[in-house]
């Protein structure tokens, strides 16, 4: 159970609930213990907290009134979409309101000519593509949770997916947002054109983890569906060779739609689970998806086969048809649940590294794995350097989660050390808040706090997430002294 810093609300819980009852219908207000329980965590179940109250508004005006009320009485507010986030970003505040956007689930408009979809934040990622399909269009970012995760959460986390290298992250695929500030003011950010006047608030809001405003409407860009997609599977007897093959494909001037790598343990788990026909003797496999026009795909498949052979792969297969393409992907897409079958629990990490550092990072991770006696399966968005090491552990063994978290933290610090980042697509949330102290110095963290204050000076929106206080970093730093130097020397130690 996670305990927050005490909020300084100026209203009693009963009075708050009464006031909320004036804003939303009774069935849109949850405050009994058993009703609150389902909201205690998001996709990162290691952190749990019961909110004071859950409110499920269905109109923009209601959200405005709720935020105005909370602002007036200094009540913390945590916004929540589908709750599939993996970093604890939607972890409730015990003395606060959990604002669920689940009822904002309408696709307002699809404009095939402008290739835009205007949707409410509670619309599921995949539902947009399904609705746009009739026009031959789709929404490109495809986080692996796309069947369940909502677009509001995607914007808040700047979600990625397997197709980011070619099609970008959420920030590259949205055009307009409507947000409500903590004061209850409705702002429209972006516009009908490709850019807008003034500062790039669209980028600032994207990935801001619910710290700056509540998203109540999103206009996303749609792309024409590629005429054809083809996937190649290459097996390697050495992870380093697989990594080099990725560089060689890009050096050949080809940007694949997806480029995924799995290591031996991940291959085995996936194969046992879905029987995708993965070569079990391989140390690593690469899945390379090429899409575009028919002609383009034909030309690129030919080239990539050559590159893979020249890069020392022990086997290259091209999916013969759409069914086989799905089978090739099935293994990769089921990698997480597959690992879940071979271990009681697993912990999914999310660092990004410059791709050339892969051999070094894999070696260091193997050493850490031996040190902590915890196996690691690696699933890797190889094209853009985004690593998802899955640490296998058993939460029933006392202290195992703590050791796993410590191990995970070291992996993230390693990513920063080689010039990467602690999070590629899952967000900082509650989970990686200490590692923020490793990636950023105190000036940078203070600048983040100043940005936050520009929107929410009292810190009521999602308090305690995403950006650590300098004191927290000082405490964390005391445990993690690098090269004999104390980080944040300007702060007193506790």
């Amino acid at each position: 159970m996670y305990t927050h810093d005490k909020a300084e609300s100026t209203i009693s819980s009963n009075a708050l609930i009464d006031a909320l009852r004036q804003i939303v219908a009774d069935d849109a207000l949850l405050h009994e213990k058993e009703d609150l329980k389902p909201y205690e965590c998001d996709g990162l179940s290691a952190y749990r907290a019961i909110p004071l109250v859950v409110v499920l508004p269905e109109t923009i005006e209601q959200v405005q009134h709720i935020l105005t009320l909370c602002h007036q009485h200094q009540v913390p507010v945590v916004a929540r979409g589908a709750g599939t986030g993996l970093s604890g970003g939607a972890l409730p505040h015990e003395q606060g309101v959990l604002l669920s956007l689940a009822k904002f689930s309408n696709i307002i408009d699809i404009d095939p000519k402008r290739r835009l979809a205007r949707v409410q934040p509670g619309v599921r990622n995949l539902a947009i593509s399904q609705e746009a399909d009739q026009y031959g269009l789709y929404y490109a970012p495809d986080p692996s949770s796309q069947i369940a995760c909502t677009i509001g959460g995607n914007v808040a986390e700047n979600s990625g997916g397997v197709h980011c290298l070619k099609y970008g992250l959420t920030v590259h695929n949205i055009q307009q947002l409507k947000i409500i500030t903590i004061e209850g003011e409705l702002l429209s950010i972006g516009g009908s054109g490709l850019d807008s006047a003034g500062y790039d608030l669209l980028a600032l809001m994207t990935g801001s983890e619910g710290m700056l405003g509540v998203i109540v409407e999103v206009t996303v860009k749609l792309l024409p569906k590629p005429e054809r997609a083809q996937v190649l599977l290459a097996a390697f007897d050495d992870v380093v060779k697989a990594g080099e093959a990725v560089g060689n494909i890009i050096a050949a001037g080809i940007i694949p739609a997806g480029l995924e790598m799995m290591d031996r343990l991940a291959i085995k788990a996936a194969e046992d689970f879905v029987h995708a026909g993965y070569p079990l003797e391989a140390e690593a496999i690469l899945l390379c998806e090429l899409d575009g026009t028919n002609e383009e795909v034909s030309e690129h498949v030919f080239k990539v086969r050559e590159v893979l052979n020249d890069s020392g792969s022990i086997e290259v297969r091209t999916a013969r048809d759409e069914a086989e393409r799905q089978v090739f992907w099935q293994g990769r897409k089921s990698a997480f649940p597959a690992v879940g079958r071979i271990s009681p629990d697993y912990y999914c990490m999310d660092g990004t590294i410059p791709r050339k550092q892969l051999p070094q990072v894999l070696k260091a991770m193997a050493d850490l794995s031996a040190e902590y006696k915890l196996p690691v399966a690696n699933v890797f968005h190889a094209g853009d350097g985004n690593l998802h090491p899955l640490i296998l552990y058993d939460a029933n063994i006392p202290g195992a989660l703590e050791r796993t978290e410590e191990f995970g933290g070291k992996i993230l610090e390693l990513c920063v050390e080689v010039g990467g980042t602690i999070t590629g697509e899952h967000g900082v949330g509650m989970e990686k808040i200490d590692q923020m102290c490793v990636q950023f110095n105190s000036l940078e963290l203070q600048q983040f706090h100043a940005v936050k204050a520009a929107f929410d000076p009292q810190g009521l929106l999602n308090p305690g997430k995403a950006v650590p206080t300098l004191h927290r970093c000082a405490e964390f730093g005391a445990m993690h002294v690098h090269k004999g130097e104390l980080p944040f020397p300007e702060l007193e130690r506790f």
Partner: protein, 369 residues
């Protein structure tokens, strides 16, 4: 050319912060015409970033380049070209002296923007000095990075009002194997109709423009894909096999050297840049204001319009369609689309967060910032 003057720049900013004196940030001076004229900048001390030069890292297979802000854009483009790569947003330079820092600070992008993203889309990270003289890094050199707020992209288009760019990291892409431009004759409404129809299909479009009854569409990609696209849309190939003529057109367009930009009236008539919904044929201007001397880009999402309409008229017409209009050349009155009160408040707060003494390019973007 390689030199690191970040310490001097930091000292100058720290001093200006202590003395509360405005600084006018200068790179290659190629886009000095862009932005508000404000007496606070006119009388300000210059902060010259142009000597802070040099490419710091570039590995083609990582698809990332990092350079100091004063590095000439031309130098970066040549280096990428030599490695078969490019800056996907095809930035205009307006002069040989243009720097990468100025390019990002202005967030101006060329013909490929609608298809490959803007400067801000390709920006992965930057090192800046804020208005307190604090040197900081945000983002990084990797494609995916969601740690902390996206301060890097906030710098793109801020015209230096939030921080002085020291270094930028950008995503680069391989050049296409083949590029061909097709020319077709259409009325404005037909042209918009065509480009929208094509854009709903996976044709490898990489640029489009319409002016003087001529729609031009550029295709980039694998040879077979480009050839197939030519078959689909028809029309006449620009310069047939000679690639240069086709490149020359898009180059002249982005550098504003076409007759449209340099003709007789160009030196006197205001030039508006209008960003708006791509399928609306034209802005609704009151009778008496010319609305037809227009060049379309980006599949219709960007318009260059020569018009004598006052700023209030132009900007209220743009805002009526949820777009925005900026006065690009021959500036007078309100240059950038006025912000709504709510957005202006956030802008002022952000300015305060980065530059509390208001010393960095004060008034360059909006009088209040």
């Amino acid at each position: 050319m390689n030199s690191d003057i970040s310490q001097q720049l930091q000292q100058q900013i720290q001093q200006a912060f202590e003395q509360q004196k405005a600084l006018s940030i200068v790179g290659g001076n190629s886009k000095a015409f862009y932005g508000r004229v404000d007496e606070r900048i006119g009388s300000a001390e210059k902060l010259d970033v142009s000597a802070h030069r040099g490419v710091l890292s570039y590995e083609p297979t990582e698809l990332v380049i990092t350079a100091r802000a004063g590095t000439r854009l031309a130098e970066i483009e040549k280096l990428l070209h030599d490695n078969g790569q490019m800056l996907p947003f095809e930035p205009p330079s307006y002069a040989d002296s243009a720097t990468i820092g100025g390019t990002i600070a202005c967030n101006l992008s060329g013909p490929r923007r609608a298809y490959a993203g803007a400067a801000r889309d390709l920006l992965l990270g930057c090192k800046i000095i804020n208005g307190k003289g604090e040197m900081m890094s945000f983002g990084g050199e990797v494609m995916k990075n969601v740690a902390g707020y996206d301060v890097s992209r906030l710098m793109a288009g801020a015209l230096g009002t939030l921080g002085v760019l020291l270094e930028v990291s950008l995503k680069v892409l391989p050049k296409a194997e083949k590029e061909v431009t097709q020319m077709l004759e259409y009325s404005p409404s037909e042209a918009l109709d065509k480009i929208h129809t094509w854009s709903q299909t996976p044709l490898p479009i990489s640029a489009s423009s319409y002016h003087d009854s001529i729609l031009r569409v550029r295709f980039s990609g694998a040879t077979k894909a480009v050839n197939a696209a030519i078959e689909t849309v028809g029309g006449e190939t620009v310069g047939s096999d000679a690639m240069h003529e086709d490149q020359h057109y898009w180059q002249s367009l982005k550098e504003q050297q076409l007759d449209f930009f340099t003709g007789d009236d160009a030196s006197t008539r205001p030039l508006w840049r209008i960003s708006m919904a791509s399928d609306i044929e034209s802005l609704e201007l009151p009778a008496g204001y010319a609305n037809d001397d227009c060049l379309y880009e980006w599949g219709g999402a960007l318009r260059w319009l020569k018009s004598d309409a006052p700023a209030e008229v132009m900007q209220s017409a743009a805002s009526a369609v949820d777009g925005h209009a900026s006065l690009f050349r021959h500036q007078h009155g309100s240059i950038f689309q006025p912000l709504t009160p709510g957005l202006l408040r956030i802008h002022k707060n952000l300015k305060q967060a980065f530059d509390p003494q208001n010393i960095l390019n004060p008034g360059k973007l909006y009088p209040e910032l």
